[in-house]
């Protein structure tokens, strides 16, 4: 076998391969470490952190949809300090880049978390401005250009680590939002977060989710992710971590051709915990079969008609 070059560089941080786990579908790595060696991944993004511990929404929090699922977990997490103390050391036992995903309700909270996490042993910060499942904050920041610029620039001002801004697909024009993040000084972008949806139980005439609405993810959203990654790739010159419905190696290749430099796997790993590894191998097989020596060749290589 010819030696494949699978390493990618995201804002100065080298991932040994482009496969990342998506935030919220990976916990803090302990459970997945029982299925495979986490060092096989390029990077991991941990469950979304908030400044203080967060209980999350009442159950039911998950509903199946055609080729996907809705979730309304609502950012349940132990808080940023407990993460640094109790969870991060475990992850640091693996040779994998660690991305700390965080969400705030005010700009000051985002700043405070960026300070705390900058001093912690994480490689990158991922700023979630796109969670559809929390009332205040979250997506409220992600749908308004001015707010995106504001959060990005203020987090950047205090952060000692590269900052990834995670974009919401629940916007009219994702290009404008991406541009605002770039103007604010973002080092990289990740997209897409989940799309707002709802399911109703026709027997009870009640939404399945106790939160009524939830975020749609899984293969159902893949074509939206491909289009949005492409749009953003055309608009900004930042590296993109693409995600949304990736479930096999070919999907990863496709999202990279649309413009992603790395690819995160979310819902697919909830159904098949080995999905991240299988997707990584599938991508390598695609490279071998097609004579691609360096994975970075794929990024943005799709030619539009």
């Amino acid at each position: 076998m010819n030696k494949l070059s699978t390493a990618v560089n995201i804002a100065g941080v080298e991932f040994k391969n482009p496969i990342v786990t998506a935030s919220g579908t990976f916990g803090f790595g302990r459970e997945f470490s029982e299925f495979f060696d986490l060092s096989q991944l390029g990077a991991v993004s941990v469950k979304g952190l908030t400044l203080k511990p967060k209980a999350g929404n009442p159950p039911p929090r998950a509903a199946e949809t055609a080729s996907g699922m809705l979730n309304s977990v609502g950012l349940q997490n132990p808080g940023v300090e407990s993460f640094v103390k109790d969870e991060l050391p475990f992850l640091r036992g693996f040779d994998v880049k660690v991305i700390a995903n965080m969400a705030g309700t005010t700009v000051e909270e985002y700043e405070e978390m960026a300070r705390i996490l900058s001093d912690a042993d994480v490689d990158m910060l991922e700023v979630n401005i796109s969670c559809p499942n929390v009332k205040e904050g979250g997506v409220a920041f992600g749908v308004d250009e001015k707010a995106v610029y504001e959060v990005t620039s203020r987090v950047k001002a205090v952060s000692k680590k590269p900052v990834i801004i995670k974009l919401s697909p629940n916007v009219t024009d994702i290009k404008k939002i991406a541009k605002a993040a770039e103007d604010g000084g973002a080092d990289a972008l990740s997209l897409i977060n989940t799309l707002l949806g709802m399911r109703i139980d026709i027997k009870t005439r009640r939404p399945i989710l106790k939160n009524n609405t939830g975020g749609l993810s899984g293969p159902a959203v893949f074509p939206i992710a491909v289009r949005m990654v492409h749009d953003v790739y055309e608009t900004v010159s930042l590296p993109i971590i693409g995600m949304g419905g990736v479930s096999r190696g070919e999907d990863a290749a496709e999202l990279m051709m649309a413009g992603a430099s790395a690819v995160a796997v979310g819902s697919a790993a909830l159904v098949n915990p080995l999905a991240p590894i299988e997707i990584k191998r599938g991508l390598e097989k695609f490279m071998e079969d097609n004579g691609i020596k360096d994975v970075t060749e794929l990024t943005g290589s799709a030619k539009m008609w």
Binding site: G56, P59, S67, Q76, V271
Partner: protein
């Protein structure tokens, strides 16, 4: 790296009653690790995205059995599989019932909740009694298996068409007052579990109850399967990871 998914062959499949089927899979590593009250996440074909949680009913040598009722798309798919077909399962998952409890144990099962108790019955044998509640005589499934291993088995039906008319917990009451049970193990619909908790509190017996909640992953990463914790310092516990079997005092039903 101890957990895995398995492609397992269906060694036998049988129809029990109404919409209730049993699937027995051949899967040595799974059989070796499975404990009473644990569950599997079962892939249900291309028309479903999420796996379906189904409890382990029995382990026999290298075979693992599940009994389930057809509710929707996923369980319908399972009901249509044939001997020799393969299914992909993830597990065993969750914390099951403690079968090492010293002394007598009372099992209380309602409807589909009867099936996950069978491994406890096998383990405890003549030091356990069981009260099994069904809707009607037509729905009686697997009660004979309990009769073969337990000391005493009481059957109740809602309509009185078999055994004692009434709820399983009402029948359990008279057993509890006449025995010194060290624990109650229960599985069934939520109102039944609430009644079990009340009974257990009244007679100061620890009750271990198996809960259900909608799941995505089943192995503790997505945080979908939340249940309110009774501990003031903890908001939610997770059915797939901390359960599905809980001490009834740990959770708020």
């Amino acid at each position: 790296m101890s957990k895995a998914t398995y492609n397992a062959e269906i060694a036998a499949k049988r129809w029990h009653a109404g919409n209730i089927y049993e699937i027995i899979i051949e899967c040595e590593p799974l059989a070796r690790e499975s404990q009473a009250g644990q569950f599997l996440q079962v892939a249900c074909g291309d028309d479903t995205f999420l796996r379906r949680p189904i409890s382990i009913h029995n382990v026999d040598g290298s075979r693992v059995s599940m009994i389930f009722e057809v509710k929707g798309r996923g369980t319908r798919y399972l009901s249509q599989l044939k001997t020799g077909d393969c299914i992909n399962v993830l597990g065993p998952l969750g914390n099951g019932f403690d079968t090492d409890i010293e002394g007598d144990v009372l099992l209380i099962g309602g409807g589909l909740g009867v099936f996950p108790l069978y491994m406890v019955a096998k383990a405890k044998g003549k030091s356990c009694d069981a009260v099994l509640g069904y809707k009607s005589a037509r729905d009686l499934v697997s009660h004979d298996r309990f009769s073969a291993v337990c000391r005493e088995v009481v059957i109740t039906t809602d309509d009185g068409s078999y055994g004692i008319q009434g709820t399983a917990v009402a029948a359990a009451h008279s057993l509890v007052v006449n025995h010194h049970y060290k624990a109650i193990c229960a599985c069934g619909p939520l109102p039944m579990l609430k009644a079990v908790h009340a009974l257990a509190c009244k007679y100061n017996i620890p009750a271990w109850i198996s809960l259900e909640e909608r799941m995505a992953c089943g192995f503790g990463v997505c945080l979908a399967c939340a249940v309110k914790s009774a501990d003031d310092d903890v908001d939610y516990l997770h059915v797939c990871k901390h359960g599905p079997v809980f001490n009834s005092k740990e959770v708020i039903l």
